[in-house]
């Protein structure tokens, strides 16, 4: 074709299709471009190490020195037989149950209160969100200082207001220690849950609630039949994140109740158990660790956690669709 001639119809269509395809590709690639930095970090620091830990779990490796003995699935079967780890899993389940109730009652209630219009509302919002931005280790020390049987501030405060009967060795009694730990986690978790619910509430059209009121519905009814159903996506997000938060919990428990889950292992969580097997926690008196076993614990936890989170996601998404 010489310069200046009109291109044939077929060629024009092909050229248009080509440019459309390129545009479609650009459109498809754009989100990937924005996601790339996060995906790289996620892949490099989470996915790859997790995948890398699977083969290590098949050996008997202490964590230092040469990797020698292949043991197949022995570590996995030992994890399933490990009574302490099963107890720890049960503690995590209690943590989840406690936080589930707390989140869907207290955090939701707080979000509703913070959604109203009144003076200093933004200050209250900032206060509620504060625990999320504070260092977890610092939070742990604060809880320990509050509840320590010897130097804690809570018991003297109770005594000072005449509530001597309520004083307890909170962290030292198996009957209270786990609940105290759940309370500490709830205090920290509440920040994210409340803010997520609050964001969800702000997406609920005000007209919907006003229309319900015009139809004669009052407070509880509006909340139950209008606000809560409209919050379905927020419920999904919060509760799926909660499963992950509750079953991966580690730092706060490690700081407050130590490497053995004091008292007597009654607050031991799976994350702490994994850490205690992977890193020396005997104050330097023993460097003995069993990293392969810790890897097997971690992989088992990841699989169970993945399945539970997936099941919750499916259930809650279905519920979301029904509500819509």
């Amino acid at each position: 074709m010489s310069a200046g001639t009109v291109p044939s119809r077929g060629a024009a269509v092909a050229a248009r299709r080509g440019s459309e395809r390129a545009a479609a590709l650009r459109t498809a690639a754009r989100p990937l471009l924005f996601l790339a930095p996060a995906l790289l970090l996620y892949g490099g620091f989470l996915v790859l190490p997790t995948l890398g830990s699977i083969p290590l779990a098949l050996f008997d490796w202490s964590g230092a020195g040469p990797i020698r003995h292949f043991v197949g699935f022995d570590n996995f079967s030992a994890v399933l037989r490990d009574r302490q780890f099963r107890d720890a899993a049960l503690h995590n389940a209690w943590l989840f149950a406690g936080l589930f109730v707390f989140t869907n009652v207290v955090s939701l209630g707080l979000a509703i209160l913070l959604d109203r219009r009144y003076r200093l509302r933004d200050v209250y919002r900032a206060i509620v969100f504060l625990p999320y931005v504070l260092s977890t280790i610092a939070i742990g020390f604060v809880w320990q200082l509050l509840l320590s049987p010897n130097i804690g501030l809570l018991n003297p405060a109770l005594e000072a207001v005449g509530l001597d009967g309520l004083t307890h060795a909170w962290l030292a009694e198996p009957g209270t220690a786990l609940w105290v730990l759940i309370a500490a986690f709830a205090w920290q978790w509440n920040a994210l849950a409340t803010v997520t619910f609050l964001a969800g509430l702000q997406n609920v059209p005000r007209e919907l609630r006003e229309a319900a009121r015009i139809d004669g519905a009052r407070g509880w009814r509006v909340l139950k039949d209008v606000t809560v159903p409209a919050l379905a996506p927020a419920f999904t997000t919060v509760n799926v994140l909660l499963v992950i938060f509750a079953f991966r919990a580690f730092e706060l428990a490690y700081v407050i109740t130590g490497p053995v889950g004091a008292p007597g292992g009654s607050t031991l969580l799976m994350g702490v158990s994994i850490y205690a097997n992977a890193f020396p926690t005997s104050g330097g008196y023993s460097s003995a660790t069993n990293v392969s076993y810790a890897m097997a614990q971690g992989v088992t936890l990841s699989i169970v956690l993945g399945l539970v989170a997936l099941a919750m996601l499916v259930l809650l998404t279905r519920r979301e669709r029904r509500v819509r």
Partner: protein
């Protein structure tokens, strides 16, 4: 050779000469720079880690003394926090980033997986004068027929007590288990303070209490008897050691199971608990918290008082040579120097108990007096010094249910017994 070729050769030679001169000059100036600018004298730098930043002054004094003896070797010390040290060291060794001279917290750094078992350290055979070392120390640094570590300090663990409180209640150092329990109950019943500060959050002090009770029966023979299979922790008389701890736990400070070690230490130092299981280097920490502390020290009594009270004796700190040390010879020179008499006197005066015999604290302060008292008590070897019994501390950590009633003394003893590697003769 033509004139042109001659010219070419001479030009090449000239260029080679210039290049050689430049290279040599560069090397010389580079080496001078490595010498630290001290006039070009040849010297080498050894990197070392030290895991007790609170004893920095003692380390600096040791380094100054070493520099006087070996001006050609510079030691660059990095101070690492005590609590995180085992994890930091392990990670560094796995990543190939450890120091030339590795400090160990106890003997497990010699035979454990950060030591010889992991293949990270070099033997020091022939570099140490073993005859100068205490026999227990010799055993602790020898593994599979090789000497792997230079011992710096040793520990002795027994019971510290508040002298004033004992006097106030007319009590004296107990000489049998019955007396120990009676003393504990008397203090507890008096109600002004707890009988024992027993921070059990990480189960380390309960381990030492239990270990003391077992050694008060088995004495010097403890490790040999257990590892040969002649004795088991499940033997009825040894199960009593676990039962003693359960019985004594009724007099431990309130909430002891949730108390962290630092808090327990402070409770004792401030006079809020009358007794604590403690090591020879802990005294400095108590007096730092309370300079007015009037403490005594006694060895753990035997069950019926028929044997002398005992303290546990073990290796507290040693240095090993990293296989990847840049200058192995200089590193070995530094670590072995730490066992010299001059270095060991600095250790005794500032750091802990020495690893060689025949030294006495040179000061007349309360710490020196306390060390003399501690050195005067009969000692039996610590399980922590040996790979066959070293795992018992982790086993005790995994059995905190002893204090909640979910484990009986027999079950506890059986659990700890499983951590002992028995190799019958």
């Amino acid at each position: 050779m033509t004139r042109l070729e001659e010219l070419r050769v001479s030009r090449r030679q000239a260029l080679q000469s210039v290049g050689g001169a430049l290279l040599a000059g560069g090397l010389v100036s580079g080496l001078a720079a490595c010498g630290g600018g001290d006039g070009g004298s040849s010297s080498t730098t050894v990197t070392a880690w030290f895991n007790r930043p609170e004893n920095r002054r003692a380390m600096e004094d040791l380094l100054a003394a070493f520099k006087r003896d070996h001006p050609d070797i510079a030691v660059d010390v990095a101070y690492k926090p005590t609590a995180e040290y085992p994890a930091v060291l392990k990670t560094a060794l796995v990543g190939g980033a450890g120091p030339d001279a590795i400090v160990t917290n106890g003997a497990n750094g010699i035979w454990g997986d950060t030591g010889a078992d992991g293949g990270y350290i070099l033997p020091l055979d022939g570099r140490l004068d073993l005859s100068a070392l205490q026999p227990s120390v010799q055993r602790a640094i020898t593994y599979r027929g090789h000497v792997y570590g230079a011992p710096v300090s040793t520990f002795r663990v027994g019971v510290y007590y508040q002298r004033e409180l004992f006097d106030k209640h007319g009590l004296s150092e107990p000489t049998s288990w019955d007396e120990l329990l009676a003393t504990s109950r008397a203090l507890s019943d008096a109600g002004d303070v707890a009988a024992w500060a027993m921070p059990a959050q990480d189960m380390i002090l309960p381990f030492f209490f239990y270990h003391l009770a077992v050694n008060s029966i088995l004495g010097d023979d403890s490790v040999a008897a257990l590892t040969s299979g002649r004795r088991k922790l499940t033997d009825p008389d040894l199960v009593r050691a676990a039962q003693l701890m359960i019985d004594a736990s009724k007099t431990f400070a309130e909430g002891y199971q949730a108390v962290a070690y630092a808090e327990g230490k402070a409770l004792f130092a401030q006079g809020r608990a009358a007794m604590i299981v403690g090591g020879s280097s802990d005294y400095a920490g108590y007096t730092e918290i309370n300079p007015q502390l009037d403490a005594g020290f006694f060895g753990f009594p035997s069950p019926d008082g028929s044997q002398a009270p005992t303290v546990l004796n073990g290796l507290s700190m040693a240095y090993t040579v990293n296989k990847k040390a840049s200058d192995r010879d200089a590193t070995a020179t530094f670590v072995t120097w730490l066992t010299s008499r001059a270095a060991q006197q600095v250790v005794l005066d500032q750091l802990g108990l020495p690893s060689i015999d025949g030294l006495a604290p040179s000061g007349s302060d309360t710490r020196s007096a306390m060390l003399r008292t501690i050195l005067g008590v009969d000692a039996s070897p610590s399980w922590l010094d040996f790979p066959t019994t070293g795992g018992t501390i982790v086993a005790v950590q995994r059995a905190p249910q002893l204090f909640t009633g979910k484990l009986t003394a027999e079950q506890f003893a059986a659990q700890v017994q499983r951590a002992i590697v028995v190799a019958p003769a």
